[in-house]
Symmetry: C2
Subunit: 332 residues, 2 copies
DNA sequence: TTGAAAGCGCTACCAA
DNA sequence: TTGGTAGCGCTTTCAA
C-alpha cells in the first residue's frame, strides 16, 4: 500500500477512470452508472479511502465542526459548561474541538486563526482575561468577516455583534448578601482568590453594594489561591464576624478549614456561602450552600443558539441571561 | 474592505504584482528587493493579512499544532493530565486542540479523521472504552501511515506501535490493600462506580489478588454513580467491615457519607482510602488518604515524548510507567 | 528581481 | 454516462 492516506487521485489511477468520476461515484451522484459506482465503492473501501475533510473545508468553507474556546477546564464552571455544550452538539451531525486559552490573548488569537480557515463553522467562546484587558477584538471581527458564527458565554464582549449567554452574578450575590443581612448577620466578610479576574470584581461589587445600602461596612479579603487560607485565618483570629461569602472553590474550602481550626461552628457562629461545583458542595460537612451558576444550562443554551444560527445562516446579536440561584444547604 | 479574509491574491491585485512576489516578500525571501518588501508588508498589515494555516497545512502537512483526544474532562484525572500537557506545550511553538470522545469510538474516529489531514502534526490520546472493546484501531494505523506521531497515555493499545505512558494502578492498589491488612484490617471492602470501565476492572483485580493471597475474601460493591451510596449503605448496615477502598470520586464521597450517617468513625471504625483530586482530598474531614496517579506528571511526560518525536521525526515504541503512590492522610 | 505555473485533495461546471 | 479543467490559498521551481 502506498504511503500516506488514499486519495481520489490514487483510486483514479488504480481504476483507470478520471478523478471526477470517482468523486461523483463516492458522493452517490446519479450521473454515474450503478455498475461503475459499485466498482468504485468497492475499491475505495478496499483501500480504506476516507475524504480529506480539510481539503473539503478549503473548498466549501464548511466542515460540520465547531470550536469551543475557553480559558481553562480546571475550573469546574467551564468544565460543566463544556459538558452542556457537548451534550447538545452530540445529538447533531456536528463535532466539537476545544481550545484552552489559559487567559492568554495570543493563544486565543492563534486558535481563531487556525480554525477559522475551513476547519470549523462556528465558535463558542468565553473570552480570556487578557483579551478583555487589552481590548483587542479583531480576531472576533475577522472570524465574523469570514462568515463564521460566534456565540459568547459568561465572558462576553458587548461591542462584538453576536449572541451572548451570561449569568447575573451581580444580582445573585447582592441578593444573597441581603438575605444574610435580613437573617441578622451583619459582619459579613467576602473572601476571594479570584479578584484578579473580572468575574471576581463583578461579584465583589454586588456584595459591596448590598452592604453599603444596609449601612454595613464591606470587608474584602483577597489573596491568591495558595495564600487565601492563611490570610483569612489571620483575619478571623483578629476580628469578629458572623458570615463569609466565598467567591471560588479555593476560598470556600479555605473558609471551612479556618472555621473548623478555630473551633467555631458553621452555621451557628459563622454562616458560609460559596461558589463550588454542585457535585461536591453537598459532600462537605456541613453541606455547603452555594450560588449556583447553572453552568450546564449555560453551555447547553450557548450550543443551541449556535446551532440555530448555523441553520438559519443568520447572525443574531442578542443577550440571554441565565439566573444564578442560591442552593440553600446546611452552611447558612 | 472585501468580504472574507484577505488573501495573497487580493494583495497581489491591489499592488499590481504577482502572487508569488507577495508570498516571497511576506516570507522574507532575499529574492525580493527591500523596497518591494516594505511596500508589500505595509499593505499586508493594512489589510490585516494573516496566512491561511490550513492551506499551508494542505501543502506542507505540518501546522505546529497537536491534538489531545481524551474521553472526558469532567473526570479530574484527565483534566489534570490535560493541564500537564498544556504546561509543556505552552513553552513551545506548538498549539493544542482537544477533542472529547465521551468513550465513543465513532467520535474518536471522526476526530482523528478531521485532524490528521493537515490540521495537526501529532496526537496525544487516551483511548476510549468503546474503541478498546471493539478492538477497532485502524484510525490509529491510518494516522501513523499519514506520518502523524501518536503518544498514548493511561488508556493504551499495546499492538499499536507508539510511545505509551501509563500508571501501574494494579500494583498500587494491591500494595495499598496489603498495607491495610498489615495494619490489622481484615474486612476490607472495595467500592466502585466505574466497574463498567477497564480501569475499574484493573484496580479491582489488584485488590482481589492481594485479598486472596492473604486468604481474605474480596468484597466488591459496584453500582452506577447515582446508586453507589444507597448500595453501599445497604451493605454497611447489614455487614461488618473495617476498611473501604473507593475506586473513584463518587465512591469516595459515598463512603464518607455512609460512614458518617451510620455514626461510625473514620479511621477508627472504618479506614477509607480513595481516588480523588489531590486538590480536594485534603479538604475532607478527616482528610482523605488517596492513591495518587500523578496525572499532571503523566500529562507532562506524554507531551514531552510527543515533542521529542516531532523533533527527531522518529516514531518510538516504548512504554513509560509513572508509579501511583499512596498519599497517606488522616482517613487510614 | 519578478512572475508563471504546477500541485496539495477535492468539487463543480461544462464538454464530450 | 464520463472526463477535463478551473479553482479554494498557499509555496516552490523554473523561466524571464
Amino acid at each position: 500500500m502506498a504511503k500516506g492516506r488514499t486519495t481520489l487521485k490514487q483510486l483514479a489511477s488504480i481504476l483507470g477512470v478520471s478523478i471526477s468520476t470517482i468523486s461523483k461515484a463516492l458522493n452517490g451522484s446519479h450521473e454515474i452508472s450503478e455498475k461503475t459506482k459499485r466498482r468504485i465503492v468497492e475499491i475505495a473501501e478496499m483501500y480504506n479511502y476516507r475524504p480529506n475533510k480539510i481539503a473539503l473545508g478549503l473548498k466549501s468553507g464548511s466542515t460540520n465542526t465547531i470550536a469551543v474556546v475557553i480559558p481553562s477546564v480546571q475550573n469546574s464552571f467551564f468544565a460543566r459548561a463544556l459538558y452542556g455544550i457537548e451534550s447538545v452538539i452530540s445529538d447533531t451531525q456536528y463535532s466539537t474541538v476545544v481550545c484552552l486559552t489559559k487567559e492568554s490573548h495570543k493563544k486565543e488569537v492563534d486558535n481563531f486563526d487556525l480554525l477559522s480557515n475551513g476547519v470549523v463553522d462556528g465558535f463558542i467562546v468565553a473570552v480570556s482575561e487578557e483579551t478583555q484587558k487589552l481590548k483587542k477584538f479583531s480576531h472576533f471581527e475577522d472570524a465574523l468577516n469570514d462568515e463564521k458564527h460566534i456565540v459568547m458565554f459568561d465572558r462576553v464582549i458587548d461591542s462584538i455583534s453576536c449572541t451572548k449567554v451570561i449569568t447575573n452574578d451581580y444580582k445573585a450575590i447582592s441578593e444573597t448578601t441581603n438575605n444574610l443581612i435580613k437573617s441578622n448577620r451583619n459582619q459579613i466578610v467576602l473572601v476571594s482568590a479570584i479578584n484578579n479576574l473580572n468575574v471576581g470584581m463583578q461579584r465583589t461589587k454586588g456584595y459591596s453594594k448590598a452592604m453599603l445600602e444596609a449601612k454595613l461596612k464591606p470587608v474584602v479579603i483577597e489573596a491568591n489561591r495558595n495564600d487565601i487560607e492563611k490570610v483569612l485565618k489571620n483575619y478571623v483570629v483578629n476580628n469578629s464576624l458572623d458570615a463569609v461569602i466565598a467567591l471560588d472553590t479555593d476560598a470556600s474550602f479555605a473558609a471551612y478549614k479556618v472555621v473548623s481550626e478555630l473551633k467555631k461552628n458553621i452555621p451557628n457562629d459563622i454562616a458560609v456561602i460559596g461558589y463550588m461545583s454542585e457535585r461536591i458542595a453537598p459532600y462537605l460537612t456541613p453541606e455547603l450552600s452555594t450560588i449556583n451558576q447553572h453552568s450546564f444550562t449555560i453551555g447547553k443554551m450557548a450550543a443551541k443558539m449556535l446551532l440555530e444560527q448555523l441553520e438559519s445562516k443568520e447572525n443574531n446579536d442578542r443577550t440571554l441571561v441565565v439566573d444564578s440561584t442560591l442552593s440553600q444547604r446546611k452552611s447558612s
